[in-house]
């Protein structure tokens, strides 16, 4: 034997190889479907927003890793954050605000807490919340899809009170499903979001429990309150929020029990915010609020191990 000394490492000595990087790139791929919808409905300006957001996110992460003297790993998480942030922004937001939002997402929400895995809040959503607090006017100016016509007409999103657009229900549902409506860049086309989500579900990247229960609770709540269930489910950011943001690994619980609690909490909060607050939409803030509960849920909600026997008190 030519080399006499061997390396020591812990078992197992083989690895599945489904790394964080691979996971993130699958998520990016799935997100490309809503991205296509954004570009199709809101024109080339959407491309600027998406590219600038993603580039700012990756660059901020790179700079901050260097400043903290940590190794920069291109695991794609910054791309996911940048892309998700872009997809939650209104279609005509000034580009410098995109830069501010993406920088805030990465620098403050993610890296200040210790980087990937340590952030409490979903970076993209926290970035969006930051922007909507700082620039309320720009963050709520919506347009009707102009189809590559830059001079678009401003219009209301379906969930706002001033929304009057459709003559009959069927064409309303059709527009909601295919995405021909006002709203944030990526949230409009339910169909393409579902295609992206199907990829994530089939590859077992995300757990079906969170989106299904979340949407289910919102549907049930809307039904009980006498609202139009299909409309409530498809309008607003519920679809993209449930499939792409609530399922974020870092900011959702790990056990199946915890995930059920998380998803039900999300649904209840969304119903409350949509109906009893002065905001038209509640998905972003419900996810952020439930994110704050995740450490607590993970601490107290545990699963019973194999062969569990309750310990006797005096033992």
């Amino acid at each position: 034997m030519e080399n006499d000394k061997f390396l020591i490492s812990h078992a197992p000595h083989i690895w599945g190889g489904f790394s964080t990087g691979k996971t993130m790139f699958v998520v990016v791929f799935a997100l490309l479907f809503p991205t296509v919808a954004a570009i199709y409905f809101f024109g080339y300006y959407a491309i600027y927003i998406i590219l600038i957001s993603t580039a700012t996110a990756v660059l901020s992460e790179f700079v901050i890793k260097k400043l903290r003297k940590k190794r920069f790993i291109m695991d794609g998480s910054a791309i996911v954050t940048g892309l998700l942030l872009a997809l939650t922004l209104p279609p005509r937001i000034p580009l410098w605000m995109v830069v501010v939002g993406a920088f805030f997402s990465i620098a403050i929400v993610k890296e200040a807490f210790g980087g990937l895995g340590y952030n409490i809040f979903n970076p993209a959503l926290a970035g969006r919340a930051f922007l909507s607090v700082c620039f309320p006017k720009e963050m709520t100016s919506w347009i009707i899809p102009p189809h590559f016509n830059y001079d678009a007409i401003t219009g209301a999103t379906p969930l706002s009170d001033s929304f009057t657009y459709h003559a009959d229900k069927f064409s309303l549902y059709k527009d909601l499903f295919f995405g021909n409506r006002g709203g944030s860049l990526g949230e409009t086309s339910v169909m393409l979001i579902l295609i992206g989500a199907a990829i994530l579900l089939l590859l077992r990247i995300i757990d079906w429990k969170i989106p299904v229960l979340y949407i289910g609770v919102v549907a049930l709540g809307s039904f009980l309150m006498g609202k139009d269930v299909l409309f409530q489910v498809m309008a607003g950011g519920l679809m993209i929020g449930a499939f792409f943001m609530a399922t974020d690994y870092v900011t959702s619980p790990v056990t199946w029990k915890g995930r059920i609690i998380f998803a039900v909490g999300l649904g209840i909060l969304t119903i409350l915010l949509r109906n009893f607050s002065n905001m038209p939409e509640g998905v972003c803030f419900s996810i952020l609020i439930m994110n704050a509960f995740v450490p607590l849920i993970d601490k107290y909600v545990r699963i019973k191990p194999f062969g569990f026997v309750r310990k006797k008190k005096n033992a």
Partner: protein
Amino acid sequence: MNIVIKKKRAFKGLYLPENKITAKKPIEMLPVPDKVVIPLQQNIGAPCEFIVERGDTVKTGQKIADSQNYVSAPIHASISGKVTRIIKVVNPVTSTMMDSVIIESDGEDSWIELKKLFDIKKPNDFSGLKKIIDSIDGKEIIKKIREAGIVGLGGATFPTHVKLNPPQDKKIDTLILNGCECEPFITSDHRVMLEHGREVLMGLYIISKVLLLPKNIYIAIEENKEDAIIHLGKLVEEMGLGSIFKIIELESRYPMGAEKTLIRTITGRTVPMGGLPMDVGVIMNNIATSKSVYEAVIEGRPMIDRIVTVTGAIENPKNLLVRLGTTIDRLIDNCGKTENGVNYLIIGGPMMGISIVNTDFPVTKGMNCLLVRKSRVPFEQNCINCGRCVNICPMKLMPLAYVRYVKKGDFEVCREYYIENCIECGCCSYVCPANIPIVGYIKTGKNQLLKVVD
């Protein structure tokens, strides 16, 4: 009646690349070495003490170490020759030093006198053999097993005579012979089943007799060893044991061969936390153990050799019959050149094996595989809380919590998450996207907790 029962999907686990490249290679005998290193701790429980001294001449099979402790098995000389030195060898499992004895061969390999009761090669006289077995008292059998130094050869090395002597209040109704061999690469049990099927079955018969014929006797084999299932099925029929032995064909899924998961899959019973299989009326034995039991009881042969699969990035992977105490470099030399860039040497399979630093280490009783590997050095990233480890864990634990708290040093918190329940199968590390050596953290946590208790 049908001997082979087809069914039994695993309730949890991984589908691993099997890499059983030596499955078709017959067992070869490694030439008797001119020197062996025999450590005194080769079983779980108490280590042995020497009963020979430096300068003594010993014969092959002669007992050289024993212990007064009940949970311990004696150790025998695996070659004949002279005891030249007593040294310390690092135990790779615990990283502690253990006393070892070096025997230098006289080149004759002269055995102690063996009292052979039956020759298995004799064609089809199984009723005669069964009569011989039936005539031996159960206590006598257990004594013979102890004297032969037999331990569980699946890797745990628990003394077999202790296992076969359960306390009176435990009613054993199921005996399982574990032929799963679910780890990738390893084929030693597979070859034993194919080439020593008779010994294995008669060993099982002996064990079942000691346990007063439990109601269910199963031989559990994964479906990737189709030839072994067919071969053993034929033998069972031939030997007229079809009415008591059943072969169960199981899904090939890791960790099928782990004691608790196998019992759950076959019987549906759940071994309670911190409990033993005998708590749910089950006793499980390994294929190679069963063969050794036969050799000990019928041929009077102590445990001085075992079958080791030498595999991985090596020119000529083999299943070798090796004398215990042979140093690893001989095994590697016998199997040809290793590939360029080999950086790991692993005792055991790739999922649970232990990496060792150099080739001076001897073959011990619990070693079923020597894996030469060329692989990337793991690079640990941050945990992203994905929960894959929680989903895959066959013991339904929360492995990510151990990583978090062991890093912090809160070992007591690990106990609240039932760290003792971990069987260290390695599924969590295998699926971890951040490539965290979770099992390493768990072992650290367990060791620290043991120290705290001590």
